[in-house]
Amino acid sequence: MISDRRRVALGSLGGNLVLVALVVVGGVVYAAFGSSARDALITDLLINLVIVIGFQIFIGNTGVLSFGHLGIASLAAYVMALLAIPAARKSVLIPNAPWGIPDIEVDPLLATVIGIGVAVVVSALLAAVVARTSGLSATMITLAFLFVVRQVAENWKDLTNGAGNLSSVPRLDGNGWAIVGAVLAVFVAVSFRASKVGRLAVATREDELAAGAMGIDVFSPRFIAFVVSGAVVAVGGILRVQSLGSLGPSQFSFDFTILILAMLVVGGMRTVSGAIVGTAFITIGKEITRFLGDGPHFLGFEWPVVDGLPDLFLAGSLLVVLLLRPSGLLGEYDVGTFVAAQLSRSGRRSSGPAASAIASAIAPDHSDAVLRTNCLGVTFGGFTAVDSVTMSVEPGRIHGLIGPNGAGKTTLINVLTGVVEPTYGTVEIGGRELTGPPHSRARQGISRTFQNLRVFGALSVRENVAVADLVARQHRVDRAGPGVDALLELSGLTAMADRPASTLDYGNQRRLEIARAAALRPDFLLLDEPTSGMSEAESREMVDHVRRIATAVGAGVLVIDHDLGFITSICEHITVLDQGAVLAEGTPDEVQSDPRVIEAYLGTQGA
């Protein structure tokens, strides 16, 4: 029996290839009724498709905007062209080229392979920088790269012949190669999205901070996505040059990049189907507007020649989509989902894990590590948020951290999870000092939920938990875990497992966050205000829920709240913080009767 994941991947591959076929057939029919210029249009469309899908692999899965990929394509195309152009031509075009290039003549196919190899190396170098940054920085670095490549190509005339172009590149005739390229691109993109790295990349796209807290190092999925995507775009770039037979610095321009991005964004960058639909939509629209702008004789009128109509269409449709439907025409939709649903209807398996499977998955031995802070302090400027806090959370126990607003509770959790660096003091787990960025702490046994919900909204409920499980399988091998299905069942989420997490209601999203954190098989589960925004009845239910999950994974729990009732009903041990320092500590009864606590909570008059 094939797994759900594979079913979706196969469905997506099949569905998207059908989509490509539809586009090609449409193009062929159109070409049959027109001049040979229309044949070139199909080739162009297919090659653009390769490039757009290449962009989709990085941008769609990581959510980071890159302007630099056509710079990579340009480099690859130059390498290919410089190797493959016949030596006789080169000695005329670029007699002064370095490294004996005028004398070299390489078989076009080998030259192509070398070109792609260069693209991979360059992508890796660029990705080593880009994958460390995000948002605006990443975009600006890639933009700078695109400009630099172009400037060098324009100015290194000995090598590139500058704006004079390199002609006589061995040509590929017909559309055969372009079709092969498009099929290959679809295959790579679908496989990437279904792969482990692909799913981790999507998690970082959905929420970088939450991904880190789940043990996902943002760098590696972004790095790999960038390199894979660079290689696919390079294939497209090389195909383009081989279909034209010449190459110049302006070919892989900023304007071309915008065209590709418009195709991707208009169709919907998150799915391969979106990339295909967007490419077709923009190509058709540009073809129509070009026709209208050429002053056609049409509908009995002599239409005026209008220059710039295709650009108006391009910018207009990009703008309309960005303003009204930023996720693109298709949004999260991939034909694969549809096809997979059809497939699974015919071969439906038994539903859900058996109750016994859950029972046996529950209650592994809890770890015997203690989580300890030694005289921990955090100051922001002159403000002391955490003041010399020393506390221990015992294994397998539910420990409460309570205090009025601004007492330093969340800051303390942020220090434990590596989001904030302590000014002084250390954190230990099982006697080892806990250091490093959030993702490495998660791998060392600390997982958390967030005060303001941070589920991976576009991923399904199951995928949310599965992503954390994936990390656990690699980095938490010495710990047993209940597994994805059991956690979903325990959280009452099985019925909605295939829904996007963003569609769940508030309470279910909270439970999903806890399930996701538990899937990491942590030694300690840190819950930041799990009942905030909940009614009293829901809070009471949450008490049982936290207990159940904690037992199932055998983790100690550190729970923050300012709801005294919730904390005293769930915790075996409580630490009270006030103005960053430990005010009191002990069992719920001890803490509740401590006069200092009463004072901090109710003020002196109330005491």
Partner: protein
Amino acid sequence: MNTFVQNLIDGLGNGSTYALLAVGVSMLFGVMHLVNFAHGELLTVSAYVIYGLRSKDVSWWITVPMAILGAVALSVAIEFTAFRRVRTASAFTLLLTSFALEILSHAVWRIGVSSKPRRYATPEIAFKTFDLGPYRVEVWDVISIVVAVLCFVGTAIMLRKTLFGLSIRAASEDFDAARLMGVKANRVISGAFAFAGLLAGIAGALYLLRRGQADPRMGAEPLLKAVIAAIIGGLGSLKGAVVGGLALGVAEVYFRSFLPNDLQGLTDAFVFVLIAALFVVRPQGLFNVQTAERV
């Protein structure tokens, strides 16, 4: 020494245009984390206003204020029709929206006027020179520098003394907190767009009176320089934008006069490498701008 001073004045003259644009770019980044690549289109609209009015022989004294007004109007219109809708969107959407607006503007001018440049006669003063001791100085450079300095001083006073300036500063510090304190989001943002438009209009006037032509894509290059200047100074820092703009203007002139010919074409490439490096090493720019996400 002679050329040194002359180059300096020349560079500061060009640089003040960049700086005026860069201050606008930086201000918009401050209030809504947008790098507005459509900001250069404000120069374009000013240029076509000048072309249109001058071809009907309207006096420069009316033409220039109208050109500035055109930039302000377009800036506010862009905010109202486009950026208002994506205010809370990701950096990704904001950036692409600004590029889409840029291309849209190019296409509109191509369709509405022509893709060929439209020329207008420049006023005499634009290329007048006078001798100051051993130096031959262009009058327009001096005017540019003086006007720019007045604008910077005006901006600084506006930011410190007026309620609007205070709300811009508050919004740049922490937009959500500013709103809780009663700053009206839409008003402060459209105000910032209007103010940035005003500075761009003035920059446009200084630049266009010497340029003598309007064409659809003319806004792209100066804007790119302004963005670079704003990045060098640290996006969101207005002081940084001024310094970045002037430094870029001066550096360009020196590069042009000292670099050997076959490296001339690569000056921009050097600048881009520098920018990329800056983003890696010091993403907050040379001037420190703190931003932190609350967890």
